[in-house]
């Protein structure tokens, strides 16, 4: 496709407008009306908000038990909206799986209030609001502005938790917002200290919003919630595209389900696996993608997939259906990177050099690539690389994260340590997808 053809294709893509655009004016008018602190809107993307609104109205009108539960706890109506289109969290709320917190602090003209949490052994959702009469827009920037420690102040280990970005700095004052925190490899402690810094985003011209308030809350979790969860060992193997994979364990928590897989990586690595669970009633619990993985020197790989949770579904049987995979394979032809100028002679489609920064004993490289689904990013290059003379080196660690510039892209950053050359040769990955004509079926329960 040449450039002009790309242009025509992009124009066609732009002709498609989302259904939520139809009610833009109505939403805008509703937002401009002054609201008391007891009436809150939603921080979720508005296309999802509208879907939640319709779903909520359907539930209230068609489901008397749900309506009764909602009337008993009025504030949970706002909570239902803040949850967004999350079937697991919605189910948790319908079953009163919500712990009230009700803590509030004010610092330098900003008030932060933690209303509720939805918590289980591995996942914490904090529902909070920010209010200020001094600043127009204040925001807790999750990755940089949140720290967690044990009740006695001992910091939690690096990598033991992840704060998921949600909401925007321009959420209207007092709106209920959700802060999901993942505990990938450890259980959530019975108590936590949550420290947040809040920045002022009111000044359009300031690219570095100043921190204006700090808060620290002690959160004590009801063990009724944090003890909930069940792990089942399956050790069931199946073959896809000639590759053997094993479902090792299934962990079911109220807020999501973890499916743990293992395989031996030969020439290709697992990039995505398309699967879902289904119970005897035909209810499906969809995948949320691969959330974590461990690679061992032996070539063994452990992968953790997440799915919506069947915890509240009262399922008598559950079957896992695997419908396809995407593999990542190393290309044989290396990419030459001019480190001084920060450019490559060629790169796979969608991959770009973000930066090449000289460090004391080497280089720090950052690339970006296109996410293959809403949640996954991956290493763009093999961990082995070489210089112009053919000397081989190997990466120690690398960091994968979301591209702040574009939510549909991810970044990969790594250091070439003790590397003083001006050129480097990297081996890029290529991906291919396999869809199964007959899905693999595995009985889970």
């Amino acid at each position: 496709m040449n450039r002009n053809e790309e242009y025509i294709s992009l124009l066609a893509e732009l002709e498609r407008t989302p259904p939520a655009l139809e009610y833009t004016v109505q939403r805008a008018k509703a937002r401009t009306k002054k609201s008391s602190r007891l009436r809150r809107c939603v921080a979720a993307p508005l296309s999802a908000l509208f879907a939640v609104f319709l779903a909520f109205m359907a539930l209230v009108n068609l489901s008397p038990p749900f309506a009764l539960a909602m009337s008993r706890i009025p504030v949970l109506k706002d909570l239902a909206a803040a949850v967004g289109f999350s079937p697991s969290l919605t189910a948790a709320m319908e079953h009163d799986y919500v712990q009230p917190i009700g803590l509030e602090q004010t610092d330098h003209g900003v008030t932060m209030r933690i209303e509720h949490v939805i918590v289980d052994q591995k996942h914490l959702n904090i529902f909070y609001s920010l209010h200020s009469d001094v600043y127009s827009y204040v925001y807790v920037y999750p990755m940089q502005g949140v720290t967690l420690s044990e009740a006695d102040g001992t910091p939690l280990g690096v990598g033991s938790f992840t704060v998921v970005t949600t909401g925007t700095p321009y959420t209207p004052d007092g709106n209920l917002q959700m802060m999901p925190i993942e505990f990938s490899y450890v259980d959530i402690p019975g108590s936590l200290r949550l420290a947040c810094t809040v920045a002022d985003y009111s000044d359009d011209e300031n690219p570095d919003p100043p921190v204006v308030a700090s808060f620290e809350f002690s959160l004590d979790f009801d063990p009724t919630y944090t003890s909930q969860g069940e792990a089942v060992s399956l050790e069931k193997s199946f073959t896809v595209d000639g590759q053997n994979l094993t479902v090792t364990t299934v962990e079911t928590y109220p807020t999501y389900l973890r499916l743990n897989l293992s395989y031996r990586a030969n020439a290709a690595w697992l990039d995505q696996i398309f699967l879902y669970l289904e119970n005897e009633k035909g209810e499906r619990f969809e995948s949320k993608g691969i959330w974590a993985e461990n690679h061992y020197d032996t070539g063994d790989v452990e992968v953790q997939c997440r799915l919506e949770s069947p915890f509240f579904s009262e399922s008598e049987s559950l079957t896992l259906y695997v419908t396809g995979v995407t593999w990542l394979d190393k290309k044989e032809e290396p990419v030459k990177i001019d480190l001084v100028r920060g450019i490559a002679d060629f790169l796979p489609m969608g991959t770009t050099v973000e930066s090449a920064i000289r460090e004391e004993n080497g280089w720090r490289l950052t690339f970006s690539g296109v996410k293959r689904n809403a949640t996954s990013g991956y290493l763009l290059f093999d961990t082995d690389y070489h210089d112009e003379a053919g000397n081989e080196y190997s990466l120690g660690t690398w960091e994968v994260g979301d591209c702040q510039d574009d939510p549909e892209r991810f970044t990969v950053a790594f250091s070439l340590e003790n590397y003083l050359e001006d050129m480097v040769y990297l081996l890029p990955f290529t991906a291919w997808r396999v869809d199964l004509e007959n899905p693999v079926e595995i009985k889970v329960k």
Binding site: R3, N4, E6, Y7, L10, L11, L14, T17, P18, A20, L21, T24, V25, R27, A28, K29, R31, T32, P45, L46, S47, A48, T168, P169, Y170, Y201, D204, P207, P209, R341, G342, I343, A344, F346, L347, M349, G350, T352, Q404, D405, D406, P407, E408
Partner: protein
């Protein structure tokens, strides 16, 4: 301008605003939020609009400020002065959508309004508060970087 007129003109304009935001921000959800924010601000500031004839360019200006604010909280944008020596080759290697996003802001504004949002030369110049000649110069430079062979007609 009365509320009824605001509603009617915004209904006609919102798809155009959405396309503009989508090219700027690259995400359907964030583009929708930007349009919502724009319409909300426009509604709140309705009484400040002194020349209703310029309603569309006024709303466009609000939208572009909203988009720029969103982008400002991400990586710093490239400027014309900092374009690399072999800029055309760099941009040529990128998918068109990505190449547009990586343009310097002053070129990106023009190419989005002129070639994706359907603004005439006059409308784009009014929205950006620029002379038409400047818009022509910038669109020519942007098209060259993007290697797009499009007409520069009004």
């Amino acid at each position: 301008m009365v509320e009824a007129e605001f509603t009617a003109r915004t209904e006609d304009l919102k798809a155009r605003l959405y396309r503009t935001a989508l090219v700027y921000l690259g995400s359907e959800a964030i583009a929708l939020e930007a349009v919502d924010e724009t319409v909300c601000r426009g509604f709140q500031a309705l009484k400040k609009l002194r020349q209703p004839d310029y309603f569309e360019t006024w709303m466009t200006r609000i939208l572009m400020n909203v988009c720029k604010k969103e982008l400002r909280h991400r990586k710093r944008e490239l400027t014309v002065e900092s374009l690399p020596e072999r800029a055309v080759e760099v941009f040529d290697a990128l998918p068109l959508k990505e190449a547009i996003r990586r343009l310097p802001a002053e070129l990106k504004d023009v190419v989005i309004l002129r070639y994706f949002s359907g603004y005439t030369l006059k409308e784009a110049a009014e929205s950006l508060s620029l002379p038409q000649g400047t818009v022509v110069t910038r669109q020519r430079r942007a098209l060259a970087l993007l290697r797009l062979e499009l007409t520069e007609e009004e």
